[in-house]
Amino acid sequence: MSFFDDLNFASILVATVRNAPVLIFAAMAGLFSERSGVVDLALEGKMLASAFVSAAVAFATQNVWFGILAGIGISVLLSAVQGYVSITQKGNQLVCGIAINIALSGLTFVLAQFFFQQGGRTPDLGEARLHEIVLPGAQALADVPVLGWLYGSLIGGHTILVYLAFALIPLVHWIVYHSRFGLRLRAVGENPHAADAAGIHVERTRYLAMLCGGVLCSFSGAYLAIVQSGFFLRDMSAGNGFLALTALVFGNWRPLHTALGCLMFGFFAALQIQIEGVEIPGVGKIPGSLIQMIPYVVTVIVLAGFMAKSVAPKAIGVPFVKSR
C-alpha cells in the first residue's frame, strides 16, 4: 500500500483544478477562431504576450485588474494582426501563427529585460495578485472529513479566474450551439459560401470570433503570470498553447469535450509532480520527463484515429474568397 500512501490523490485533484484554467481559457479561445474557420496556432504567443504584459502592468501599477485589462489589450491586438493576415490578406494561417509565437518569444524577453533587468523576468508581484476566495461556511466545515476538504479546498479556495474558467465551459457551449452568433460561427466555419449566400458577413463573423479568442486567450496568460507564479518568466507558456490546441482536437472542437481534455492534461501535469521519485510496484521510478510526454503521445494516438474520430470544421485554414 506504500505506493498509494506516497501518492496524495487529494492534492492531485486540487492541483488538477488549478492547472486546468490555463488550458481551458486558451482552448475556448482556439475554439472560437477555429470554429469560424481560422486555424489558431498563435495561442502560445498570445498567452506569452498577455502573461508578460499583465505581470508588467500589474507590477508597475500595483493593481492586478489593470494588469488583466492590459493583458486583454495585447492579446486582442495580436488576434487582430492574425485576423488581418488570415482573413483580409488571405495569407497562410499556419505560418502566421508560427510567426507570432516566435516573434513574441523573443520580444517578451527583450522587453522584460529592458524594463526590469532581471534576466527576462519581471519582479515578484507581491500584493498585486488575486486573492483566493474562501467560501462561506468553509471554516465551520473544515473539520468534517471529506466534505470539509471537498468544500474548502476542491470547490472553494481558488481565485476568481478559476471560477471564470469553469463557468466559461457551459457558457461557450450555449453560445456555440444555442445563440444566433454561434450558429453563424459554425456556418462560416463549415461552409462559408453557403453562409455568405444566406446573407451572413463571413469576414466580419470571423473577425468577431478572433476578438472573442483574443479576450479569452489573454486570461490564460494572466492566470499563468498573476495566479500561478506571481511573476513573468521567459517562455513561461511552455507549450501550454499547443496543449490547449491539442485538447481542442481531442475534444472534436466541442466545448464540453474540449474542457474534459483540458482537465485530463491538467491531471497529467499534477500527476507528474506527484509521481516524480515515487517507487511504483513492478515498474520502479518513472522519470518526470517521460510523464511529461504522455499528453503529447495521447494526442498523436487520438489524431491517428485510434481512439475517436476527430472531425475538424470543414473550412478550417481556408481563406474565404467571395465568389462573384
Binding site: C96, I102, A103, V110, L290, Q292, M293, L303, G305
Partner: protein
C-alpha cells in the same frame, strides 16, 4: 489582382525583398524604441558579421546548419507538407550521430568515423519524421499538429536520455562525453588561414552540395516532378498516377534526414559533444529560411547566410548594446516569417498596379 499576374522577376526577387525590408523596418522601429540607433546597430552588425573575416567565418558556420534545416522544411513544402518538426528531427538526428560516435570513435579512423556518424544523424532524423509522415499519409492526421507534438516528445525524450544515460560518471553538465578526435570535422581555416579561429568546417561544403542535389532532384528528375505535382494539386497528381501516400512518406523521410544532418555541423564541427538543447531553435529558423528563400536553392543559401549574419552580428551587437540582447533576433526571425511567409503577397496588388500603370 493576384501574384500570378506578376512577371517572374517580381515574384522571385522584388516581393521577397520588399517583405524582408518591411520586417527589418519594424525591427528597426523596435530597436529605436529601445533607445538605440537602428543605423548604428546595423553598422555594427554588418561590420561584425560580414566585413570582419573571422566574423564572416562564424556567419557561414551558422549558415551551414541553417542550410540543412532550410532544405528540410523546403523539401516537405514541395510536397505540400508544412513540417514544423525539423527542430525535433535535428535533435533526434543528433542522438543518432552521438550514439554512432560514442560506440565507434575509439575503433574507427576519421575517414570511416565521419561518414558513419553522418549516416547515424540522417537515419535517426528520418525515422523521427517517418511516423508523422506515415500518419498523415495513411490516417490523415494533420502533419502540423503531429510534428509539433513530436517536437515536444523529442525534447522530453532527449532530456531523459541525456540526463539518465549520456552524462559521463562524475560530471554535472547535461552533455555527453567529448568525442574522440577521429570524429572532429576538419576546419576550413586550415586551408584559409584568414578565417582565423572560427569553427567553419567542411560541413559548409556538404551544405552547398546538398543545395545542388536538392535543386537537381526537385527540378530535373521525374521524381521531383511528381513531388511538386503532389504538392501543387494532389488530386490531379493522383489522377495522373502518382501515389500521394508514398510521396508524402518519402518526402518526410528526406526532410527528417536533412534535419538530422543539420546536427553534424554543430556537434562534429564545433562542440564535439552533445549538450541538452544543442539545436537552439535552428529547426524553427529553417521555417523562416524556406519561406524567405521561396524553396529555391539560391534563395535558401542567401537566407541562410542572412540568418547566420543576424545570429553572429546580433551576438556582437548584444555585447555593445545591452538593450539589444541576442533574443532580439528571435523576434526579428518571427517578423521575417510573418512578412515573407504569411503575408508574402502583401505588396503584390500595389506592384501589379504600378507595373500596369507604366505599361499603359
Amino acid at each position: 489582382m493576384s501574384a500570378n499576374e506578376l512577371p517572374r522577376w517580381a515574384t522571385a526577387i522584388a516581393l521577397p525583398v520588399l517583405n524582408l525590408v518591411s520586417a527589418l523596418l519594424v525591427a528597426g522601429l523596435v530597436i529605436y524604441l529601445l533607445g538605440e540607433s537602428p543605423v548604428e546597430s546595423l553598422a555594427i552588425l554588418v561590420n561584425s558579421a560580414v566585413l570582419n573575416p573571422e566574423g564572416l567565418g562564424y556567419t557561414l558556420f551558422y549558415a551551414s546548419t541553417f542550410i540543412f534545416t532550410g532544405l528540410s522544411v523546403s523539401i516537405a513544402m514541395q510536397a505540400g507538407l508544412f513540417n514544423i518538426g525539423s527542430e525535433g528531427q535535428m535533435y533526434i538526428g543528433g542522438l543518432g550521430l552521438t550514439l554512432a560516435v560514442l560506440a565507434l570513435d575509439a575503433a574507427l579512423p576519421g575517414w570511416l568515423m565521419v561518414p558513419a556518424a553522418i549516416a547515424g544523424a540522417a537515419l535517426f532524423g528520418a525515422l523521427w519524421a517517418w511516423l508523422p509522415g506515415y500518419l498523415q499519409a495513411r490516417r490523415g492526421s494533420h502533419i502540423v499538429v503531429t510534428t509539433i507534438m513530436f517536437n515536444f516528445i523529442a525534447a522530453s525524450l532527449m532530456n531523459w536520455l541525456i540526463v539518465s544515460f549520456l552524462i559521463p560518471v562524475g560530471e554535472q553538465r547535461p552533455a555527453s562525453r567529448l568525442f574522440a578526435e577521429s570524429a572532429w570535422l576538419p576546419k576550413l581555416s586550415g586551408i584559409l588561414p584568414v578565417l582565423g579561429d572560427t569553427p567553419l568546417n567542411i560541413s559548409f561544403l556538404l551544405a552547398l552540395l546538398a543545395l545542388a542535389v536538392y535543386g537537381l532532384a526537385v527540378w530535373r528528375t521525374s521524381w521531383g516532378y511528381k513531388l511538386r505535382a503532389a504538392g501543387l494539386n494532389p488530386h490531379a497528381a493522383h489522377y495522373a498516377g502518382v501515389s500521394i501516400a508514398k510521396t508524402i512518406i518519402v518526402a518526410m523521410l528526406i526532410s527528417g534526414a536533412l534535419a538530422g544532418l543539420a546536427s553534424v555541423n554543430s556537434l562534429m564541427g564545433s562542440t564535439h559533444y552533445m549538450a541538452l538543447n544543442f539545436t537552439g531553435g535552428a529547426g524553427f529558423i529553417g521555417i523562416a529560411i524556406a519561406l524567405m528563400g521561396r524553396r529555391h536553392p539560391l534563395g535558401i543559401l542567401l537566407s541562410s547566410i542572412l540568418f547566420g549574419a543576424l545570429i553572429q552580428g546580433g551576438f556582437d551587437l548584444s555585447l555593445e548594446k545591452s538593450n539589444i540582447p541576442p533574443e532580439t533576433f528571435i523576434f526579428i526571425q518571427g517578423l521575417i516569417i510573418l512578412f515573407c511567409g504569411a503575408m508574402e503577397n502583401l505588396y503584390a496588388p500595389a506592384l501589379a498596379a504600378l507595373l500596369k500603370g507604366r505599361k499603359a
